[in-house]
Symmetry: C2
């Protein structure tokens, strides 16, 4: 088939020049919250599971975002019957959503049908466009219904049984229950959101051009308010500024002087998860651009024509007339996930808690990943006694260096906070940590449980929740698929660390997140990037790095070609302002 | 500015190789009814009207479709203040709408913002995105209101005075008051219609794949019914067939065998305005493709899940279960046009009647063109007495050849049906017609009024209404703009034919439609074309002719590049089936 032959030919180029792919496949950021990417093949020597004609296990995957699609792309599906359920029949490259809001990139250029992705995996993967409204963990069943609301008939309902369940349903915009947000604000989470924003921006410019509008009303509707100074809000403000100044101001000369962009941030600085150099650069660039950045402003209410903020400095509530509000203050859990968490006794949480193997706590056959989940890293101090007794093979009550070294790799693998702590304290290995806790560091190392405890007492302070980004989700999906691919193999030859609280070893290595850095596009062909190792890069060349990495990380050759030609089209012809 | 420099560079290529442009700029067809195109510069020697600093006349243009945009593009606006009002802030290349329904071409590739088009004409042209809801011909005023329905505030209303009014508001789909059509059927008149159809097609395939659907229900929702065997309906059926067989069948293997496309036509044949060879080819191709063509089927009712037709053969009413209906049976007048026609006493008509100079009958300063208007060609027989007396300078009661030849060009120009009649009868000129009416053709020609009448008695039978096509609308727009451009010049030096019922000459030549032929794409890379002179071309090469002509006729270089790259993208990657 012509599609495949082209795809394969193009893939071959990349495979024959692996350096080319490495050059491009680096890392990246921004989108629905902070996002970034994993290389889809973290493990190289993957075995095919050859169960032959035995009964295949049924895997149900909920969601086709970064986590779900990354799982599906890496899964060798021949050993499973896979059922995918998602209310959207496509995968969207969310980091480019801010570009879609102003037509820098077209919506259709950043989406790829799920069926096109699964088709390549053979006939064991089925997809249904539906939303899962209930998970019955007791009976291993998920209940779904069609997400269509058309005149084709009533809503279809059906259910699936599963052996393994992969929950990758993502999150939704968090309004913090601020009144009026759902009614009047725009979000930037889905492709439809971006399309609606684009139409609204053009609507506002057309409306502001009408002869019957008062000056005051013009000023009001041309005030674009962005709530949230994270990467999404900042990128949208920058995109909008470029759209207005590069394209719209020429076509709407009578209204361009009324345009105002206001960015509200509750904290002290925008982009506060980035290095201070980036924050400073962004704030001064926005000041030069005329984007009004108001920090210390917490939105308390949105009404039809005004947005009210409480200023931290004065404690006063101020009302700002607006024409459009974009709400981008991070994500919260979806209602179905809240239901499920209640069912399994995980109340008072903002995401499903899993262990380090991405298994939902208490369930060996349910996995949760991406924005709807959070990895609950086990504390060293909770296990300190069992670690000590496991290491103390002679049951002498003390550990010598040899005993200790036999378990040190397992400890580091099981408790990644140890390694982070060591790095932070610039120590070479745990021995150094132990030696430090001994008063006379010339003695051969022999530690008792109390010394061991005090040496490791601070490592748990290094535990951090993973950010809700595409980068994390994609790495989790690929990790989990790799586990599924080697389920049988690793059953016989476990590769994980020692079970300190049990016998033998864990079947798999626990999930370990590798941070590749992140981008913050700032408009005017300038981007800031925070790379691993505190390396910061800002400016025009970083924008080109951004272009090349985003192009390389797109999900298919079709989207790659389309996005790159969209960029070219924008350079030559500008952005389209037709209201469609 | 970079946009312009690119545009100008590209234009220069075409200007330096005029033959290239002639090669491409030929003719063409299909779309919202039958459509086709005019060369935008029918007159070569256009004078600029140099009114200097005298008061400019105010021209209000209603509508930005083919007629309105063609008028604006050809108008030398320096002598007028032009106010354009349209509910859409873009021009859409409607002949490609059927391609948009299945994603062969993207919606955004066929639209161009009106402001981009008018911007090039200088600051005398203003645009408002609004709909005109009332024309007050007595007070020379149009009343408009914003077409936006958002939360930006109430609907703005305002009015404009005019010296000249150009009505180019188009038509709307004609339902013939068939019950249920508005509620349940899709139309294909606007860009939004095409986008909705595309979503609906994908929705249907996703829904049909759900496990809970019965066989019968699957069959029902996968029956796509097209009502109307004109070029739009036929092209949509062909596009849909290609979409299903080239793209969807691979992605939806479990449902592809249930798909059915039914084409209902009330007449005896589809494409009945085309040559019989084209009709035959289309019908047999559709039969091979499995498209069920039902002729003699008149739709009497559409309900939620069934469409009822009356079969002419049996007189019985048959009900067909369906999933989607496309209604494409031609166009009727918009409600505002009906109102205006009542106001000026033109009831019982389907479009505003104008004279041959596109002036609304009874108004010297209101013009109507495109689908909302129809040219009321004056009959020769109504004027036969005044023509005779005008020609009979000596008042002898008879015309000799010399007298006759002095008026013959004016007669032919004023009454185009004369020329058509001569062509049809294969006569060289009117003399031959007169000679034929004389018994003894050897005598020198001298005719009295009775002979003159009988000679011309049949010519009026050749009068035909112009079709409601893009080709007609575009030619009318360009014609009218040319009249406006030379208003002053032709006031002093009238170029039109003799006024038979008055003195002097008409200011302008009357509008004369030049038919360049039309296309009917039939799917599978095959197209039929009916060219002037009964020349018929069918097949793959005609498809390439279609590609090149459509590409050349697109309104801007941006749309040209986008449409051509859309075609390329489709060849390489297929059509996208993401539901956005």
């Amino acid at each position: 088939m012509r599609v495949y032959s082209f795809y394969e030919r193009a893939s071959r180029v990349f495979n024959e020049y692996p350096s080319l792919s490495k050059l491009l496949v680096l890392f990246t950021a921004s989108g629905g919250g902070i996002v970034a990417f994993s290389d889809a093949k973290p493990f190289q020597n993957v075995y095919a599971n050859s169960q032959g004609n035995t009964q295949r296990k049924k895997v149900v995957v909920l969601g086709t975002g970064w986590a779900g699609i990354s799982f599906l792309k890496s899964l060798k599906s021949s050993s499973y019957d896979v059922q995918v359920v998602s209310p959207r029949n496509y995968f969207a490259f969310t980091p480019l959503l801010p570009s879609v809001t102003c037509g820098t990139v077209e919506a259709r250029s950043i989406v790829e049908p799920v069926r096109k992705i699964t088709e390549k995996k053979g006939s064991n993967i089925q997809f249904e466009e539906a939303e899962c409204y209930k998970i019955d963990a007791k009976n291993k069943k998920v209940y779904c219904r069609s997400s269509q609301d058309t005149n084709l008939g009533g809503r279809e309902e059906f259910s699936f049984d599963y052996d393994y369940l992969v929950i990758a349903m993502g999150g939704r915009s968090n309004t913090f229950n601020t009144p009026g947000v759902v009614e009047y604000a725009h979000f930037l989470k889905e492709v439809e959101d971006a399309q609606r924003i684009r139409q609204t921006v053009v609507d506002i410019f057309e409306r502001a051009s009408l002869p019957s509008l008062s000056e005051e009303e013009k000023k009001r509707i041309l005030n674009f308010v962005v709530v949230g100074g994270g990467p999404t809000g900042v990128e949208f403000a920058a995109e909008l500024h470029d759209f207005v100044h590069e394209d719209l101001s020429r076509l709407y000369p009578t209204v361009k002087d009324y345009v105002k962009i206001t960015l509200l941030e509750a904290g002290d600085h925008i982009l506060n998860m980035f290095d201070k150099r980036i924050t400073d650069f962004a704030e001064s660039k926005f000041q030069r651009d005329g984007i009004d950045v108001k920090t210390g402003s917490m939105v308390v209410k949105v009404s039809e024509k005004e947005i009210s903020t409480k200023e931290r400095g004065t404690g006063k509530v101020v009302s700002i007339p607006y024409g459009m509000v974009l709400w981008s203050t991070g994500i919260g859990p979806r209602p179905e996930i809240v239901d499920f968490m209640k069912q399994i006794g995980q109340t008072n949480r903002r995401a499903i808690a899993t262990d380090e193997w991405l298994r939902v706590e208490g369930f060996g056959n349910i996995y949760a990943l991406g924005d709807c989940a959070t990895v609950n890293q086990r504390k060293v101090m909770e296990d300190i006694a069992v670690i000590f007794s496991k290491a103390d093979k002679e049951k002498s009550g003390t550990l010598d260096l040899k005993e200790f070294q036999e378990v040190v790799d397992d400890v580091i693998e099981r408790y990644p906070q140890v390694e982070i702590y060591l790095k932070k304290k610039q120590m070479k290995n745990i021995s150094a940590l132990l030696m430090k806790s001994q008063e006379n560091s010339q003695k051969p190392i022999v530690v008792d449980i109390e010394t061991f405890k005090s040496a490791l007492s601070e490592v748990d302070s290094q535990m951090k929740n993973l950010p809700a980004t595409a980068q994390v989700a994609a790495q989790q999906g690929a990790y989990l698929a790799n586990c599924f691919n080697r389920m049988e193999e690793c059953e016989n030859y476990p590769e994980g660390p020692l079970r300190f609280r049990g016998t033998g070893r864990h079947r798999f290595r626990p999930f370990r997140y590798k941070h590749f850095g992140q981008f913050a596009p700032l408009g005017g062909e300038q981007t800031a990037a925070q790379l691993p190792g505190d390396f910061v890069s800002i400016g025009y060349s970083t924008q080109w790095l951004w272009y090349s990495i985003y192009a390389s990380k797109l999900v298919s050759w079709r989207t790659r070609v389309l996005v790159v030609s969209d960029w070219g089209r924008r350079f030559i012809f500008g952005r389209d302002s037709s209201r469609i």
